[in-house]
Subunit: 320 residues, 2 copies
């Protein structure tokens, strides 16, 4: 049983000190390793880990081919400025090979999890000799896994799977009592600048969670281009999260007076405090139409754009 | 070459007199037949035909199983009050049999066209002995067919297919020079009351045009239920057209704290004068959220609702 620490209850200084002690006591003189995605959770845990462990912690960024435009380079540059060295591991071919032909969302998630842990990260961990894996799991991940919503690739322990048997290492999850708002406060207290710790949430399976149907390099490139536009145009909102989703369904459109049976992008933009409930952000129609025009004009093959108007629940933030 | 008569140019009285003369000259003492869908175009042509031909015109309503809630009965009741007898022909099994297993929109359209003309209506026409078929084709149908947008089932002549050879009868299309706004003026002048001639446009393939993927009685029932809600809630807008579309793509949702991999309904609501260009109606978010809630609560299996924010072009009004 995990005891929740709400953002209201959270005393960041004592929380950080407590976690520093726990990590130090656990890792001792051994080495630890962690994978950084560039999201709030993994960035915060990277800062926390480096504060405790310094060079005893090795941080890798696995380039799975599913990240946003320019993201691997941005993340590495960003942490370099904070004094943290991050290694990029190019594993794109392995991920796309594992995803080939898969359309079921659970199978996709499983393919990414297996490729990430067993194949790529497992290999790196074994080669590194590190015994400890630091992970940025938060309470919402656990809730959703228990409810069966998603197979979060970072909650084996909560599912009763012993990661030591399965993958050969131990998991340390210092943020597991927090939700997103708490993590942001801890990240801020650890010195992460606003532009990083205020980043909107981004899912573990990255852009593959934004593609309905088969994940191919070509389809990822379409949703990546749409994501650039959505993030650019909606960054001035106070929204909790916003995203572009590539549908598999095709819809009719016209180009130069001719039929064009094309693709549809769904935009979601959520107002939310902690991701447990959410409502669609009330964007102006000037903005919505401009967003649709930009996507249609700049993303090849897209003829139609929708905006999600459901609330969570029963919707979820991500589509798959 | 068809000469367009714009709504601005249109003198309804002389237009009607001219068409009455043309129909009378063409049909003579023979009998004619027409299929009424209840839409503006076929309703207007039914009134025009009955004014000229009286009992020489037989009007049938083919129940294809793809119509909106209660529509066959409403249409028949409506015309009964106007003194026009309409026969309902139950052809639901034939249509669903023809649509079984088909997911390609063009093949669906073709299956409906073939079932409508060759199988059901062709049989009725042959049994009736009528030599003339009256149709409500309008200029927009012809434009879109020539551009290859849709295979309108009512424009064989414009495609260079001789309907006499193909289906055994002649087509009379008195509204072919008009667009939707002109047809409404003619319908009004013919005595159709506002509630009918001001009806929003509804496609020939009916609700099958609102289902992405296979058309089954179950999937039609889902989109039919969503259509009731959309039409009820948006009837007080000044929108040109509004619709619910059932997607084939599945998205994740939650119900009672558990995962529910469910269906998505896309709502489209268009501001337009003549269907050639259109923009999404700027509905309030109060209305959009209420619409989404109603659909999710009342239509089994639906966990997500989107609103289309693209413009035509490059979008089209209908999705398939």
């Amino acid at each position: 049983m995990i005891t929740e620490v709400t953002a209201q209850q959270l005393d960041t200084e004592s929380f950080i000190n407590e976690k520093i002690k726990e990590i130090k006591d656990t890792v001792g003189n051994n080495t630890a390793i962690n994978a950084l995605s560039g999201g709030v959770d993994s960035s915060t845990v990277t800062m926390l880990g480096h504060r405790v462990l310094g060079n005893q912690l090795r941080t890798v960024f696995i380039e799975n081919g599913l990240m946003r435009e320019g993201e691997p380079e941005q993340v590495v540059d960003f942490f370099r400025e904070l004094g943290v060295t991050v290694e990029i591991v190019d594993a794109r071919e392995e991920f796309f090979a594992a995803l080939k032909g898969i359309t079921d969302p659970e199978e996709k998630r499983e393919a990414i999890t297996q490729t990430f842990y067993k194949k790529v990260f497992g290999r790196i961990v074994k080669e590194s000799g590190a015994k400890y894996l630091l992970q940025g799991t938060i309470l919402t991940d656990v809730d959703e896994t228990v409810a069966g919503i998603k197979r979060q690739h970072n909650v084996f322990e909560q599912l009763g799977i012993d990661p030591k048997d399965t993958f050969g290492y131990n998991i340390i999850e210092p943020l597991i009592q927090l939700r997103k708002d708490g993590v942001r406060r801890v990240g801020k207290a650890l010195g992460l600048p606003a532009e990083l710790f205020e980043r909107i949430p981004f899912p573990g399976p990255a852009l593959s969670a934004r593609v309905i149907g088969e994940v191919t390099p070509e389809r990822i490139e379409i949703v990546r281009k749409a994501t650039v536009i959505v993030e650019q145009m909606l960054k001035d909102t106070d929204a909790f999260q916003y995203m572009a989703i590539l549908h598999e369904d095709r819809v009719t459109g016209m180009r130069e007076g001719r039929r064009d049976f094309g693709q549809q992008i769904e935009v979601r933009c959520w107002d939310s405090i902690d991701a447990r409930t959410a409502t669609p952000t009330r964007l102006s129609f000037d903005k919505l139409e401009k967003l649709a025009d930009e996507i249609i004009n700049k993303v090849p093959g897209v003829v139609s754009v929708t905006y999600n108007i459901a609330t969570k629940p029963p919707s979820t933030l991500e589509a798959i």
